[in-house]
Amino acid sequence: MPAATFLDTSELVLNMGPQHPSTHGVLRVVLKLDGEKVTGCECVIGYLHRGVEKIAENRTYVQFAPYVDRMDYVAAVSNGLGYCLAVEKLQGVEAPPRAQAVRVILTELNRISSHLLWLGTHALDIGAITPVFYCFREREEALKIFEKYCGARLTTHAFRIGGLQYETYDTLEKDCLAFCEMFPKKVDEYEELLTGNRIWIGRTRGVGILNAEDCKEFGVTGPLLRAAGVEWDLRKQQPYSGYEKYQFEIPTGANGDTFDRYVVRIQEMRQSTRIIRQAVESLPTGPIMAKVPKVLKPPVGECYVSIEAPKGELGYFIVSDNSTQPYRVRVRPPSFVNLQALDRMCRGSLVADVVAIIGTIDIVLGEVDR
């Protein structure tokens, strides 16, 4: 008898993706397995790389604005807001109050629709089929408001540098208030399906733990950081677009596991509803565009502006050389940075949990690869 077995099965390398339905796009994960246990994983990304940062250098500031919507395409409004704020900072202008309030309304609606897409697909990955239908039903209502406002549902390009392109449509306030009235009850429905569900708890509690130290080490932000117990949200810490005027809380978790991240996002949707209601009720009148030159040439300089996107800190670092085109645009994508922690979260867990962990990070490959 040979000393070693005929087939050495101590380590198995398994390719997951890029065409795997639960990798939410074209993510390829190379898993190293010891039986059912994951001993390590490596992400292979870039399948959706379009060179957005290079395109930016060859477009004018205004021309580049629609491109940012194509990065995180389920939260296009947030992407647009971040870009507009960054260019406005570089140019030294500020959007008028009415524009800021409309921006807040649409961004929060977008946060809800992004979280809904996450919740539906995350539950679907784990094996709960129903929530995805519920979530898409309400997401549709949010998308209808976008469509009525600017004609697009996903890649909205809703904002312009210096304010808004369009005045609100007649029934925007009514539609938003109706949404705020309807939505919390629907969130109760999701919670009824999942929060106390034994299978859901069994599949999510204690899975993919990432504590606060790990989060800070990897630069992980957004709901992942908050679920680890850090009360940190850029809307509170470095308010932009008038967020300091609204009352809302930052939901946090304690254990930093998949279940806590679920609870945090559910609570965030409730808080977003609160913000929308306040913003609609106090919507100021006035102009919607600041005085922005027709040909935009920000003075020589650079700045880094970041916002709290649904997935974490979304930052834009823009360098201007006083020409019509940005000299350099760097996008700091939350999904890309958060995905780096996948290895840490997966180690020691089971293969089936990898699907839950990828889902809980809430990545959009359009943003990871840019």
Partner: protein, 187 residues
């Protein structure tokens, strides 16, 4: 005969405009200056955002000092910019943040010559791993001591670094495209 039309003299070339940055003042820049001396070239502020320009060898000690003694424990981003007309054409930018109660964001910048290898920040901030790989992928700046210095977004065999200024907008690695995608051009 009317006097000959003289061609208008071309306007003298404008000196390249510089960023209208002001000095960054306060207790933190004082501390940095006294600690690192010549390692820090400038401490500046533009549009209420503070940044410092450091000599390349001083960058990692500065990041370490900022993390351990000043609580800048969150490395937000590492990126670069290419200025081909400069003697040292690459600028490397680190964005750092410290959590409340400080709630402060600063940038650490340095410049690099072509082929110069900066030290990796992964020992100080493990999250620098992918960010440095992306800088390598896009600019060809290789980090010394990085555990896994390879491309991240583009295929590993790809030739060229797209975010360099000489790389054209529709340029691509023709050979890679033909060999792997079996088409003449991706454009």
């Amino acid at each position: 005969m009317a006097e000959e039309q003289k061609p208008a003299a071309p306007p003298p070339p404008k000196p390249p405009a510089a960023m209208a940055a002001t000095a960054w003042e306060g207790p933190l820049p004082e501390k940095l200056k006294s600690r690192f001396g010549d390692g820090i070239r400038e401490l500046l502020s533009y549009r209420d955002q503070n940044f410092l320009v450091a000599e390349p060898p001083a960058v990692i000690p500065i990041l370490e000092f900022l993390k351990i003694e000043e609580e800048f424990e969150y490395l937000v981003d590492i990126t670069a910019a290419h200025y081909p007309q400069r003697v040292k054409p690459f600028e490397l930018i680190y964005v750092l943040y410290r959590f409340p109660p400080h709630n402060e964001r600063i940038r650490v910048k340095t410049d690099l010559a072509e082929g110069e290898k900066p030290a990796t920040a992964t020992a100080v901030h493990p999250g620098a791993n992918w960010l440095e790989r992306e800088v390598f992928d896009m600019f060809g700046i290789a980090f010394e001591g990085h555990p896994d210095m390879k491309r991240i977004l583009l295929p590993e065999e790809w030739q060229g670094h797209p975010l360099r200024k000489e790389y054209g907008i529709i340029q691509q690695d023709q050979r890679w495209v033909q060999e792997n995608l079996h088409i003449d051009s991706g454009q």
